[in-house]
Subunit: 587 residues, 2 copies
């Protein structure tokens, strides 16, 4: 019994209430409802019970079980010429879960993946939880060193590795071995319809034959409580120190539904996978698509040609992508007019209005959402108001670039002063930190009680993003807390400077960071990648910014080069900050 | 503290597991997950917490709080010339909740209503839970005797009464007084834009001034646990003994989302209230519409003219209604072609194909759902498959009349043998009982532990409805368990006989019940209401049935008269059964 008690302590003990003062009325209100979670005071309500007939822990596993019945003959997955129905997907997932347990996986064990958006990734999102285990989807851009660190931190027992990434995994295994750590069991994911030379290492498995060895009659392991972990998502590395964000079954279920609502999905959507599945579990849509009988169109490589081909062939209705994906589409020679509307959800960074405008001309209808790994992906969206339809285009794009309002899975998103926890006035000017609270906020950072405590200090999840709140309640992000440039005592939103840079006809990509300055403290430093065939000088860029911004906000330095990015398309500002620092003071 | 412990016992004790044997593998599987609800065995998952930042009890109150921000200027309610925005609705609900507490309402107290689909009903659905209280919406067709019984059973402290139903409430109060029971406080709901003579009874309140006395700064009382009761729905009386079905906040939240999905609602739907709000809390849509910023079009009287006028003026997108409402529409001289598609959800009884066909010609797109008061209203729907688009019309209507498959808020709907609990084969022939399990099944029957236990015996909620399961997994209801006619040892589905009766051109409404018979045990007896201007003989009806059914299924008796109905349009077969019994044996 002892390990049961050990585990209950961190999950259920509200350490929180003892340490934190609640300054505002609003927070005190929360307290009442949360402190008495298991206590109620109904007087004469006899005859009420909780039993299997009327209670089940929320879990996205139920979406798949239902899909196998309701949408049994609908296409669940398409990948080139490969197709599965929901019935087939269900049976494959049961067998895969069974195979995992045959290999010794038990409740709470971690199973890792290192793979792009191939069908196995979709299956593992169900099969691993169905074995009672926790899915840890590793970023495919990581190198062997990082993978070895994360495998060690997560204590993964098995890792599923795409055939193109075997060398990365092997490198990580070598590093683990050097440190006397036993590497996980490796299961290779072969490309569909190809034969690979049999692995020379006998200790590895191959995905299809591994799955085939599972028992189709395996009894699925449902979570014991709905707050049991379902996955670990290591933050993608805009900072240099990744943290293991833990999701639970309840949050995954609720965020899947709320995210589908954000996407405007009703029945039988067809979703093109340009968002990495390893990132926030594909915004929880891998789970959600099962609830609506949707089709997952898998894509190994995200290129404009592949995107347009798949939209046409598979009659894609929805897709998502970081602004860099949108940028890639509008600047590609493969771009074409779409034969039907495609709902495009963009997130990760505010989409520059110039790109928004161009992509909508092609037939995409872009919605803007915002969230963090810690909020299961999407947490807010810029909900469109019908009265905006008649506004000038420029005004529409400006409104749409805002992060908006919380989806219905959350209790509240607010902009608050990081110290006093006071809500900032809805004046569009006062900057505060975006904060979240609700069921679609992570359980915490794996094995990092201090980081968890800091993230939740004050009863809210602190995003680290700076924003203003507009009169209509919509939130607009101004910068990452650590990205903001403070020059001569003035806050400069790097996002605002970047928006102007993107309007310059020669600029393909831009990022602004702080450069240390002996006089001003910091000055804005722009890193710019030009479009092919264009040539401009630093001074031209600076002048352009001075024409469109208050002078103190214009960059003092412009560096032309390729920008370092995460696999999800986010520019890695911490690398640029290091570079700007290395430049030294301007004067 | 003692009352806290008293309350915990009935809610949390799984009395269930001790008494019931689980015959099938499937049930044993449920056991595992439910018995260990609060226990898990994660080993090294340190750093995880539950706190106000990442946990809130699910409650539809959150939908309204969000709507007040996200949809603040959108129309929440329309009622003739009266309109409120979501911001206004929110403020009014807060004040109403405050006014309730000023009158002494505390957690767990019951607040009753006796009113048609007027705006006050929508507000009370939020305001009563926001005061921590439990809403009990009484059927507007009940007489004073029934109301007095239900007020006494529910122990309601306050009752909100529509001005047209004051006499019913007063009659009930008199009956309570005769029995030395203190009647609840009465709050009159006046018609908008009218003045009524001031009540001669000084102890009553008037809705608008009562609400105005509330404090807009009142701190909303969220539920302490998400399984706290939110409402009591007395079953509508197809049986003569009503039971108080208790809903909880979690179920209301989850069923609201699932029901919106059934309706195909995305953003800003406009819903016409022909379904009584007092019935299953309007299928949980009163709560759900707040999540999507929808508009509630209120309707005091359901008439074809009012329906068509409101559809046009308010650009209604969705509505619902029992087959009798559909019947009323297609047989009305006020019917007209719709200017735009309206999604129409029908439920309560299988819609006769002939009516389905006619109403779709007018521009309604009909979907068929099924559920019971005990399942928060809708639990299944006949999910349409695109491949059915190309089938012959007759075949389409036949498919659509089936009850279908569970929505995603439930774990499972199945057809099982009532005794062995074995799932029946999916052969379209073997009859069993429709059973439900999942989070959108009631907490139980108020103060009726025995009835609760019986309803949940075997780990499923037993609907009492008989059905077959088709090869595609779709359920088709054949009859109520107690409605089926057993003649010469053969089961006769009264639904099948009624379907044939509705196809007769002279028949407006029909219901079949068992008539006792000395020779056959029972014979089918049809009660028929003819369309205006039509005249046919019993023999003609009997011959028509013999032409379209096996002879043993054709009615032996036909009675022409008006059919007794509940306010939700369900025919009250228990009254007809009494009448058929009074006829005595045929031979």
């Amino acid at each position: 019994m002892s390990h049961l008690f050990r585990r209950r302590t961190p999950i259920n003990r509200p350490w929180f209430f003892k340490k934190v003062e609640y300054p505002s009325e609003n927070s005190r209100r929360l307290c009442e409802s949360a402190e008495n979670l298991e206590v109620s005071s109904w007087k004469s309500m006899k005859g009420l019970v909780r039993c299997p007939a009327n209670y089940a822990p929320l879990s996205p596993i139920s979406f798949l079980e239902r899909a196998a019945k309701v949408y049994r003959d609908r296409t669940s997955v398409v990948y080139g010429s490969l197709k599965f129905t929901w019935k087939e997907t269900f049976v494959r997932c049961v067998k895969l879960a069974s195979a995992l347990t045959q290999l010794g996986i038990s409740r709470g064990d971690v199973v890792a993946t290192l793979a792009p958006n191939v069908p196995a990734m979709q299956e593992l999102h169900f099969a691993v939880p169905m074995a009672g285990a926790v899915l840890c989807t590793l970023n495919t851009r990581h190198d062997s060193t990082m993978i070895s660190v994360l495998l060690r931190h997560s204590e993964a027992k098995i890792i599923f590795v795409d055939h193109q990434l075997l060398h990365v995994a092997r490198g990580a295994f070598d590093l683990l071995a050097e440190n006397y750590v036993k590497p996980p069991i490796l299961v290779r994911i072969r490309e569909h319809n190809t034969t690979h030379p049999t692995s020379s290492v006998s200790s590895t498995y191959e995905y299809e034959s591994f799955l085939a060895g599972g028992d189709a009659e395996f009894v699925v392991r449902r979570p014991r409580t709905e707050r049991d972990p379902i996955s670990i998502n290591y933050t993608s590395g805009t900072t240099s120190r990744p943290k293991g964000v833990v999701y639970n079954h309840r949050g995954a279920y609720l965020n899947a539904l709320a995210t589908m609502s954000l996407h405007g999905m009703i029945s039988l959507p067809v979703y093109l996978w340009t968002v990495p599945m390893f990132h926030c579990n594909g915004w929880c849509l891998i789970w959600g698509l099962a609830a609506l009988g949707g089709t997952n169109v898998c894509l190994r490589h995200v290129s404009p040609k592949e995107i347009f081909d798949n939209i046409v062939v598979n009659q894609v209705t929805h897709m998502g992508g970081a602004p860099t994906v949108l940028n890639m589409i509008v600047n590609s020679s493969d771009r074409k007019q779409l034969p039907h509307k495609v709902e495009m959800m963009t997130g990760g960074a505010p989409p520059p209005p110039s790109i928004l405008s161009k992509i909508e001309e092609l037939g995409f209808r872009v919605s803007h959402l915002y969230g963090l790994t810690e909020t299961y992906g999407p947490g807010t969206s810029c909900v469109w108001k019908p009265e905006w339809d008649s506004l000038p285009r420029e005004e529409q794009l400006r409104l749409k670039a805002r992060q908006g309002v919380e989806h219905y899975g959350l209790e509240e998103v607010d902009v608050r002063d990081s110290v006093t926890m006071e809500s900032v006035p809805a004046d569009g000017v006062t900057i505060g930190e975006i904060m979240f609270r609700g069921n679609t906020v992570m359980s915490g950072y794996l094995k990092d009680e201090k980081a968890t405590e800091e993230a939740f200090a004050g009863g809210w999840f602190r995003s680290g993003d700076l924003a203003v709140k507009h009169e209509d309640g919509y939130v607009e992000m101004k910068d990452r807390l650590k990205d903001i440039v403070i020059s001569g005592g003035e806050n400069i939103s790097t996002v605002e400077v970047e928006t102007v840079l993107y309007r310059h006809p020669a600029v393909l990509e831009a990022a602004v960071v702080a450069r240390p300055d002996n006089h001003w403290g910091q000055t804005p430093c722009a890193f710019v990648k030009l479009k092919e065939g264009f040539e401009v000088s630093s001074q031209e860029i600076i002048d352009f910014c001075r024409d469109h911004l208050p002078h103190y906000m214009a960059p003092r330095t412009v560096v032309f080069e390729d920008l370092p990015k995460t696999s999800t398309g986010k520019i890695q500002k911490f690398i640029l900050r290091e570079k700007a620092k290395a430049l030294g003071s301007l004067f």
